[in-house]
Amino acid sequence: MTKYTEDDLREELKTKEYEYGFYTDIESDTFPVGLNEEIVKAISLKKEEPEWMTAWRLEAFRAWKEMIEPEWANVDYVKPDFQAISYYSAPNSKPKYDSLDQVDPELLETFKKLGISIDEQKKLTGVAMDVVIDSVSVATTFKKSLNEKGIIFCSISEAIREHPELVRKYIGTVVPQKDNFYAALNSAVFSDGSFCYIPKGVRCPMELSTYFRINQAGTGQFERTLLIADEDSYVSYLEGCTAPSRDENQLHAAVVELIAMDGAEIKYSTVQNWYPGNDEGKGGVYNFVTKRGICEKNAKISWTQVETGSAITWKYPSCILKGDNSVGEFYSIAVTNNFQQADTGTKMIHLGKNTKSTIISKGISAGKSQNSYRGLVKIGPNADNARNFSQCDSLLMGNECGAHTFPYIEAKNKSAIIEHEATTSKIGEDQIFYCNQRGIDTEKAIALIVNGFSKEVLNKLPMEFAIEAQKLLEISLEGSVG
C-alpha cells in the first residue's frame, strides 16, 4: 500500500476542485445593477409589500448610505463595489407550486446534484424544506402538517403578506436596521428568506430546513431569516448554503434573527459551503452575515455551524442572554483551504441572572488560508452567577496557513465565572505514529484525528444533517474525514 502522508493530503486539498460548481440555466428575472432608493422601492414593489415595509427598507437604506464598511476583521480582500451588483434575481417561471411535480425539472436537477433531492428527503427524512434559489422561495414542503400544529413556516415575503402583525412586531428587534454596515444593507434590499413561528407550548415535530444557493452571476444574495419560538416551544432549524463556481466574487449578506421567549428552545444549525474560490484565490463568495438571537427567561439558543466555504467569512452568531437562567451555546467547525479567509466566532452577552454559555470552536486551516476566531463574552453588572466556558482549538496543516484567536472577555460582576482556553497545534507525529503502530495507515490516522478533533461539534448536529455535513466537509478535507 502506498503511504499516505500529510503532504499527500495537502496536495490533494490543493488540487481538489469545487464539486458543486455547476450553473443551472434557468431564465432569471434580474434587476439592473446598482443601488439607489428606486431599486429599494422596486424590490419592495416586486414583493408586493405593504407600505410600512417599504418605509422600513428605505430607513435602513438611508442609514446604510451614511455608514462605512468595517475594517477591523482579520481579513484582506478587494471591497465589493456595491453599485455593480444586481440586487434582485428570481427564477422566471414562477407560479406557486402545490407539489414537486410542477417544479421546473431543471431546478430539481440542481437539487439532485446538491444531493438534497427534495422528494427523497420528503419521503425518507421527514424534513420540511424551504428552498431558496437566488432569493426567491420556490418550494415549501410539509407545510400542511406544520399548519396543523399552528406552526408558520414560509418565506419571509409571504409572511410579510400573510402575517404582517408578527413580522412587524419582531423584525429588526434583535438586529436593528442600523446594527452594522451589512445588516443595514440587508435590511434595505433583502429579497427573501425564511420565516418561522412556533406557537406556545408546541414542539416542532420535524427539523425545519432551508437551502440557499447563489446561481445568477453578479447577484448578491440578501436573505433574511426571522425565527420566533413562543413560550415553552421547541424548534430545530437547519440551514445549508452552496454557490456555483464563478470567477468574480459574489456577495452574500444575510441577517438571521432568533427570538426565544420564556422557556423556549431554538437549535439553529448551519452548513455553509459557498464557493471558496479556486486554488489561486480567484473568485469565491464574500459571506458577511449577522446572526443573533435573544433569550428570555429559561430560554435556550444553540448555534451549530460547519463552515467550509466562502472566500471571505465574516460571521458571528450571537446570543443575548437577557432572561434569567437562559442558556447560549455555540459550536463551530471552520475549515479554510487555499486562499480562504475566515473571521468567525460568537458573542455571548450575559444580562440576566444565572445565565450560562458554552463556546466550542474548532478551526482547521490548510493551504494558504487564514482562520480567525473572534469572540466576545460580556458579563453585565446585574448578571449574577453568570457562567461561561470557551474553548478554541486550531489545527494547522502546512506552514503557509495561519490560525488566530481574538477572544474579548469583559466582566462587570464579581460572581461571574469565566474560563477561556485556546490551543494551536498540528497533527502530532506521535499521534500518527501511535496509530501506525497499531496497524492504522496514515490516511486513516489523519481521518481519525481530524474527526476526533471536530467530534465535539459534529455531535451537536441533528442526525439528518450530520451525514450531509460530513459530505460537505469532504470537499475541503477529502481523504481526512472518514
Binding site: 490560525a403 472577555i409 464579581k414 461571574a416 465565572i417 474560563e419 494551536t424 497545534s425
Partner: protein
C-alpha cells in the same frame, strides 16, 4: 491650551537648550511630527479600547520642571530596596539627583542618558541602539522628541553585575502638575547578567503623569532580570513603554507588580531575534478604589525554537478596572515555538470590572501555543476549610489571595524583593501574613 498643543509648542523651547548638532536631533524632529499627526491615542484605537487617557490628560502639566528640590535619603529610604547593596540612579522631578545616586563607570556603565546622548564616546552606541526598537507610534514618539534624561546602562561582554541596579523616579510636587518623560537605554552584551529594579514614586498629591520609554537589548546568551514596582499614590499615572530585543539564547524576564497609581498602562513588547530564546512576562495586579491597570503585552516570535511564558494575576476591589491585552505573534519561520499565556483574575467587588483579550496570531504549523484565561472568585470550599480551623475570614481571604499570586512571586530571584512584595500584598489585603519568605 490642550496638552497636545502645549507639548508641541514646548518642543520649540526644548530645542533651544539642547545640542542641535547631536545625531539624535533629526530623530527628535521626526518624532514630534509623528506625535503632531497622531495625537494621544483614543478609545477608538483597538489597543486602547478599554483605557481612556482623557481623565489624566486634562491637567495643565508643566513639561520642564524648574529647579531641583532636595530630599533626604531617610525620608525616601522606604522606597528603595535598601536591604541590599545596589547601584542607584535616582531622579527627582525628572532631574538627576547625585547625592541619592550611586553610579559607576568601572567596567560597566551605570549612568545617565543625558551623558550618553552628549558625550562623543557613546555616540556609536546611541547610533546603533537609540530608538531602534521602539515603534514609531504617538506616545513613544512623544517621549523620543523630549528624550534627554533617564538611565543608561551598558554591560560589556562576559560580565556578571554583582549588585542589582535600582532606577527610581521621585516627584516632589514642586510643580502643580508634572509630566515626566524618562528615557532609558539598557544594552547587555554577550554572556552578561544584570538585575534591574525600576520604580516611580510621587511624594505629593499633585497630579503626575509619567510617559516612560525603556529599550533593552539583550545580546547573545545575556540574562536580564527586570522588576517593575508600581505602588504609586492615587494621583500619579504611569504609561510605561518597554521594548526588549533579544538575540539568540538570551533569557529575559520582566516582573511587573502593579499595586497603585491612578492609571497605569504597561506596554511590554518582546522581539525574539534569534533562536532558543526564553522570554518571561509575569505580573501581579492588586488594586482598589478607582484605580485602573492595563497590561498590554506582545511577544513576537520571529525565529525557531524559542519559548515564551506569560502569567498575569489580578485582584480587583472597589471600583477598580483591569485590562489585560496579551498578544502572541508567531511568524512563519518560527517553527517549534512554545508559547504559553495565562491570565487569571478575581473580582472582589461588584463595581470592579475586568476586560481581557488574550490573542494568538499564528503563522507556523509546528508550534505549541496555548492560552488560558479565567475570571472567578475565591474557592468557597477552601474558605470553609480554613474557617473551620479557626482562621478569621479576613485572614483566610488574605491567605488565599496571597496563594493566588504566589505563582508569580516564586520566580522572583532577589529574596529582598520577594519579601518587600509580600509585605505590600499583605498591607493591600489588610492582613498579617504570618510567615516570612
Amino acid at each position: 491650551m490642550e496638552l497636545k498643543e502645549k507639548l508641541i509648542s514646548s518642543f520649540l523651547a526644548f530645542e533651544n537648550h539642547v545640542d542641535l548638532d547631536s545625531p539624535i536631533h533629526d530623530v527628535r524632529t521626526e518624532a514630534i511630527k509623528i506625535f503632531e499627526n497622531q495625537g494621544f491615542p483614543t478609545k477608538k484605537e483597538e489597543a486602547w479600547k478599554y483605557t481612556s487617557l482623557n481623565s489624566i490628560l486634562k491637567h495643565d502639566y508643566s513639561v520642564f520642571p524648574k529647579h531641583e528640590k532636595n530630599i533626604e535619603y531617610n525620608d525616601v529610604k522606604k522606597y528603595f530596596i535598601h536591604e541590599i547593596d545596589s547601584y542607584k540612579i535616582v531622579f527627582i522631578d525628572g532631574k538627576y539627583s547625585s547625592h541619592l545616586s550611586q553610579t559607576t563607570h568601572d567596567g560597566i556603565d551605570v549612568c545617565l542618558m543625558s551623558a550618553a546622548l552628549n558625550k562623543p564616546k557613546y555616540r556609536l552606541i546611541i547610533e546603533n541602539y537609540f530608538n531602534k526598537i521602539a515603534p514609531k507610534d504617538s506616545l513613544n514618539s512623544l517621549n523620543t522628541a523630549f528624550s534627554q534624561e533617564g538611565a543608561y546602562i551598558q554591560i560589556p561582554k562576559n560580565k556578571l553585575v554583582e549588585k542589582p541596579i535600582q532606577v527610581i523616579h521621585f516627584s516632589t510636587g514642586n510643580e502643580a502638575a508634572l509630566m515626566n518623560q524618562p528615557r532609558n537605554l539598557i544594552v547587555v552584551n554577550e554572556n552578561s547578567h544584570v538585575q534591574i529594579i525600576e520604580r516611580h514614586q510621587s511624594l505629593t498629591d499633585n497630579p503626575v503623569l509619567t510617559n516612560s520609554v525603556t529599550e533593552i537589548f539583550a545580546n547573545k546568551r545575556a540574562i536580564v532580570d527586570y522588576y517593575k514596582i508600581q505602588n504609586d499614590n492615587e494621583h500619579a499615572s504611569l504609561i510605561d513603554n518597554t521594548f526588549i530585543n533579544q538575540k539568540q539564547e538570551s533569557h529575559c524576564s520582566i516582573h511587573t507588580f502593579s499595586f497603585g497609581g491612578k492609571l497605569t498602562r504597561n506596554n511590554l513588547n518582546f522581539y525574539q531575534n534569534g533562536e532558543r530564546i526564553d522570554s518571561t512576562l509575569k505580573g501581579v495586579t492588586i488594586i482598589g478604589k478607582k484605580q485602573h491597570v492595563d497590561h498590554n503585552t506582545l511577544v513576537h516570535h520571529i525565529e525557531p525554537n524559542c519559548e515564551s511564558h506569560q502569567d498575569y494575576k489580578g485582584i480587583f476591589d472597589d471600583s477598580s478596572t483591569g485590562v489585560f491585552n496579551g498578544k502572541v505573534l508567531v511568524d512563519k519561520e518560527a517553527q517549534k515555538t512554545n508559547a504559553f499565556q495565562s491570565n487569571n483574575n478575581i473580582l472582589v467587588s461588584d463595581k470592579a470590572s475586568i476586560n481581557t483579550k488574550p490573542q494568538l496570531e499564528i503563522f507556523a504549523d509546528d508550534v505549541k501555543c496555548s492560552h488560558g484565561c479565567t475570571i472567578g472568585q475565591l474557592d468557597e470550599s477552601a474558605m470553609f476549610y480554613m474557617r473551620s480551623r479557626g482562621i478569621p475570614e479576613k485572614e483566610a481571604k488574605g491567605l488565599l489571595m496571597y496563594a493566588f499570586s504566589n505563582n508569580v512571586l516564586s520566580s522572583v530571584k532577589i529574596p529582598e524583593i520577594k519579601q518587600r512584595i509580600t509585605k505590600i500584598i499583605a498591607t493591600k489585603l489588610g492582613v498579617n501574613i504570618g510567615f516570612d519568605l
